[in-house]
């Protein structure tokens, strides 16, 4: 049976990133790293995405945007925080306009540290996200089977 892990479609959102991590996310699509080998499609559409990659911390303006994107994604879905700013807020943590890492707003499944996070670690983060995705799809499938039995 084909698994979710064979076709992860990624959506990338730039929070308050300095663009360092964004460039590394794009670099992982280039011929050198070629993340499409794993079946990854870089989609701009949350409705068709399985993995949400967020770079940069959350500020008070994009908080609602991040929540909306997350709510627009169909289950099962996984969030990957790319870069130290997305993980914890990084050096901007104490800024007046920064709320903190992505986990202050939506649940994060995989943390990819680094400043900027290297393409190798981003790809590793996505591979770890695939395991989470598989667990979530198994968990969401279990109650439905229970219902059909009952």
């Amino acid at each position: 049976m084909p698994k979710f892990t064979k076709s992860p479609w990624v959506m990338h959102y730039d929070g308050s990133s300095c663009n360092g991590c964004d460039i590394e996310v794009l670099a992982s699509m280039t011929p050198l790293y070629d993340i499409e080998r794993l079946g990854v499609v870089n989609t701009g559409d949350p409705r068709q995405a399985d993995i949400l990659l967020i770079t940069g911390g959350i500020n008070y303006y994009n908080e609602s945007v991040v929540r909306q994107i997350y709510s627009q994604m169909p289950e099962p879905k996984v969030v990957v925080a790319v870069g130290i700013c997305a993980c914890s807020g990084g050096v901007f943590r104490d800024c007046y306009n920064i709320k903190g890492g992505v986990d202050t707003t939506i649940p994060v499944d995989v943390y990819v540290p680094g400043c900027a996070a290297r393409p190798e670690s981003i790809i590793d983060g996505i591979v770890q996200a695939l395991e989470v995705l598989e667990k979530k799809s198994a968990a969401s499938a279990a109650p439905t089977e229970g219902e059909s039995n009952a």
């Binding site: 064979k6 076709s7 499409e36 080998r37 099962p76």
Partner: protein, 293 residues
């Protein structure tokens, strides 16, 4: 006997077209990746994608969405079935147009600004390619004396000999139909575009899966249309047709990877000019020849 072949051909289309279409889509992604110096996804990647889409949660924005997408899929299958059954080409093309209208409606009922803009661009695309589609049917009528697709098997020479201009015109608008650059205005397979996913923005899960499946059916039908130019009563013409279809598919991928998206007016004018010059010119020459001899 011919009726048996026609029924078998229709059955084969309904059952096998998804596999052929998905395989061609996989070949497309693999070839595109190789052209860009990448390794690319596995050849069966489109099937993995489809299986995943059918298992994902569906976030339907409108209750009419499912009905419209299901109608699109059904009408596309109907188009191909009529075509491979060798029925009237005009009927085939009208059913195809109806299918495309359902696709546009499926996007419009969502009220999403991106999907609506994508739907408008889809309508402009239809406006661009429809004249050439109709000229193709007229061309086959002038060559075979009938609109029926099956009649190409009763002619001695392949239609391409007398319809080279119509074939070039059809190749031009096929790029629009396959949603390839430079004419992937309404929706693109690539992420870098200004309309999110354009006409397919609001389709999630099984809805998107059905749209993908429809496109596979549609692609196989369109490649069948290419093959129609090459088949005749001779047995070797089928081999020629298969070769031509593969060449056309390769050229489409090459064009997709080597060109940037154009503006809608550029697409409309260029498509109509090519239609008038190649398609119209070809038919005019055929008519003149017929009047002289």
């Amino acid at each position: 006997m011919i009726y048996l072949y026609r029924i078998l051909s229709m059955l084969a289309y309904v059952l096998l077209a998804p596999f052929v279409g998905g395989f061609l889509a996989g070949l497309d992604r693999k070839l595109s990746a190789r052209m860009q110096g990448r390794i690319g996804p596995p050849l069966l990647q489109p099937f993995y994608d489809l299986a995943k889409l059918f298992k994902k949660q569906v976030l339907a924005v409108s209750r009419y969405q499912f009905m419209m997408v299901a109608s699109f899929l059904t009408m596309v299958i109907g188009t191909g079935t009529l075509f491979f059954g060798g029925f009237d080409l005009l009927l085939v093309f009208f059913v195809l147009t109806t299918a495309c209208m359902f696709f546009v409606l499926a996007a419009t009922v969502t009220n999403s600004p991106y999907a609506e803009l994508g739907a408008q661009r889809e309508l402009i695309q239809m406006l661009s390619y429809e004249p050439m589609i109709l000229l193709t049917a007229v061309g086959f009528y002038m060559v075979n004396g009938s609109f029926r697709g099956v009649d190409v098997f009763y002619t001695g020479t392949p239609a391409i000999v007398r319809l080279p201009g119509v074939f070039i015109g059809l190749l031009f608008i096929l790029t629009i139909k396959f949603r390839k650059s430079p004419f992937d205005l309404s929706t693109s397979h690539h992420a870098h575009q200004e309309l999110v996913k354009g006409v397919t923005t609001e389709f999630s899960g099984v809805l998107m899966g059905m749209v993908e499946l429809s496109h596979w059916y549609e692609n196989v039908f369109l490649l069948g249309l290419v093959a129609l130019f090459f088949v005749s009563s001779a047995w070797w013409s089928s081999l020629l047709a298969v070769g031509a279809v593969l060449l056309v598919w390769f050229l489409e991928i090459l064009i997709d990877n080597t060109s940037a998206r154009v503006k809608w007016n550029h697409m409309l004018y260029s498509a109509w000019i090519v239609t008038a010059v190649c398609g119209g010119g070809n038919l005019l020459v055929l008519e003149i020849i017929r009047m002289l001899f």
